[in-house]
């Protein structure tokens, strides 16, 4: 810290304030009896949380979102991990195009992914429902599973897989006993990321929505009708869950790093 110019510190402080101000306001006003605006906040109350817990439509949409996120995560991992393996160790015509296509939804605005899928479902006469949202999220988030798994594969020592195959294990056994355990952290990281991104996704869902709302779309519908601190309350709860997920992920990663360090030391000691 010493020697760093004061203005640089001040700037960093301001950026953090800019990033956290809306979140702080959001949480603070979820306890405000007087609604979402108005300074100073007065009549601190838990009333909005009480209303929220009796709001069946919100909880239905939360359940829908959880279902969508879990299914999208399954699809994205099911196709994203093999895609990473294919990019890492297979050669086929159109590989460069395939790599680009898989990763494209990561950088494209959601509206393009959403609309192009809407046209697909229209042409093939698929009715819009939660299923179409799941297919949309799954497709868009394969990119996340692939990038994470591919990064994990770059660090993987291929000699282990070779040894396993040489010792007579089948590809299937090698995959489950060597490849997957080595990619464990990348896969868990990708799964958490996909789950949260899907829970929050709105641009793609916006176009693929049938009768049942996901949580962001339910919130969106309410924002257009008028705003109440109930939205602050549900956002605060979800933020707390996300924070818990980050902490959990950190614990897992730190423990895994410690375990692998211990393992490396053991190997060294055994070898010497």
């Amino acid at each position: 810290m010493n020697g760093s110019p004061l203005w640089l510190k001040a700037h960093a402080l301001l950026v953090f304030a800019f990033l956290y101000l809306p979140i702080a306001i959001l949480i603070l006003y979820s306890f405000n009896g007087q609604g979402v605006g108005g300074f100073p906040p007065r009549d601190l109350t838990l009333n909005w949380y009480r209303i929220l817990f009796n709001d069946a439509a919100i909880w239905d949409s939360v359940l829908n979102s959880l279902l969508v996120a879990a299914s999208a995560m399954f699809i994205a991992l099911l196709f994203g991990i093999p895609a990473a393996l294919a990019l890492d160790r297979a050669n086929f015509p159109g590989k460069a195009l395939f790599r680009r296509l898989v990763l494209l939804p990561l950088i494209l605005p959601g509206i393009i992914t959403g609309l192009s899928l809407l046209m697909l479902f229209r042409v093939s006469n698929v009715k819009l429902s939660l299923l179409t949202i799941i297919l949309g999220h799954g497709t868009a988030l394969i990119s996340v599973a692939t990038t994470e798994a591919f990064a994990g594969l770059q660090k993987l020592n291929r000699a282990q897989e070779e040894a396993s195959l040489d010792l007579g294990a089948t590809y299937w056994q090698t995959f489950w006993r060597i490849t997957v355990p080595n990619l464990k952290l990348s896969i868990i990281g990708a799964a958490l990321l996909i789950f949260t991104l899907s829970m929050d996704e709105i641009a793609v869902s916006f176009f693929l929505i049938g009768r049942d709302n996901t949580l962001p779309l339910e919130i969106w519908g309410r924002l257009r009708r008028g705003i109440t601190p109930e939205i602050n309350a549900i956002s605060t709860i979800i933020f707390m869950f996300s924070l818990a997920a980050i902490v959990l992920w950190y614990r897992l990663r730190t423990r895994a790093e410690v375990t692998s360090e211990i393992a490396a030391e053991l190997v060294e000691t055994a070898g010497s």
């Binding site: 990033l19 809306p22 160790r89 605005p109 046209m119 497709t139 590809y171 924070l243």
Partner: protein
């Protein structure tokens, strides 16, 4: 070492999925943009250039596109300015607290995009937190009404949302700068400013390019922040597309605009990658 069967099993399923759910939809978007819709609302599957002709001749489309690009350019500029200086501070001056600060930049990403845009709405509105605060401390007598429902509100909100996104690649590229290069520069008598301009900045260009592309492309295609905070003067190109796919019911014209956006975005990614390669440090 991997058998043919193994390679087939890992390649074919993702290839098929990507073909069906990404390649075919983009191709369909291309087809739609050459179709048309009649007064009865039926889509005519005969090829025509009508949509592209309309895009070029009606000023509302390219004016809105230009305005969206101007909004996106401002978001890109501000989030790069904030993101770069923050990343520079973290990478070179934060010492032991680096990891903590890094986490603090990431955490806002876990709060829903929609919810953060909504939070800005509650801050900027006529009866919002900022206006009532200003009146409370007697800075203003009447609410400032230019805060919400303006391009300003859209730029502010999108800058808030994309600053962490631009920070990440910039920080990664700063962290990859070998510290002995910086030391060498100091030892050879360069001032801190010279070291910054001649060593650190050029080496962070790949990260800056990636961050800039992210911020520009994602805000260019945004339609929710303008709907929520933009008002009539903050309408962006995607809002036109949304209405063409909704109430205005002209999918082919909407597809043509989307395809132009897609082309623009792909061109930007292509150029940014070319530049990145040119500047990347070996």
């Amino acid at each position: 070492m991997f058998s043919r069967a193994y390679r087939t099993v890992i390649t074919v399923p993702p290839l098929l999925w990507v073909a069906i759910f990404l390649l075919v939809p983009y191709a369909l978007m291309f087809c739609y943009s050459f179709w048309s819709v009649n007064d009865a609302g039926t889509i005519l599957h005969s090829w025509t250039m009508t949509n592209y002709h309309e895009l070029l001749t009606k000023p509302v489309y390219w004016q809105t596109l230009l305005r969206s690009m101007w909004i996106a350019a401002r978001v890109m500029f501000f989030s790069m300015l904030l993101g770069f200086l923050l990343a520079y501070f973290l990478s070179f001056h934060a010492g032991a607290r680096k990891d903590l600060y890094y986490q603090l930049v990431i955490i806002p990403l876990w709060v829903s995009y929609l919810v953060r845009a909504y939070a800005w709405k509650t801050i900027l509105g006529t009866d919002g937190v900022l206006n009532t605060l200003l009146q409370y401390v007697h800075v203003t007598k009447h609410p400032l009404d230019f805060l919400l429902y303006s391009p300003f509100a859209v730029v502010l909100t999108l800058t808030h949302i994309y600053t962490p996104f631009t920070f990440l690649p910039i920080y990664a590229s700063l962290e990859h700068i070998p510290r002995h290069l910086v030391e060498a520069s100091h030892d050879l008598g360069a001032t801190p400013a010279q070291t910054f301009w001649r060593v650190i900045l050029p080496l962070s260009i790949p990260g800056l390019l990636a961050g800039a592309t992210f911020a520009f492309v994602l805000s260019l295609g945004d339609f929710l922040a303008p709907l929520l905070l933009g008002g009539p003067s903050g309408i962006m190109i995607s809002n036109i597309v949304v209405s063409l796919f909704g109430a205005a019911y002209n999918w082919p014209l909407g597809a043509a605009i989307s395809l132009c956006m897609l082309a623009l975005v792909l061109a930007l990614i292509f150029f940014s990658e070319r530049l990145e390669k040119k500047w990347s440090f070996q």
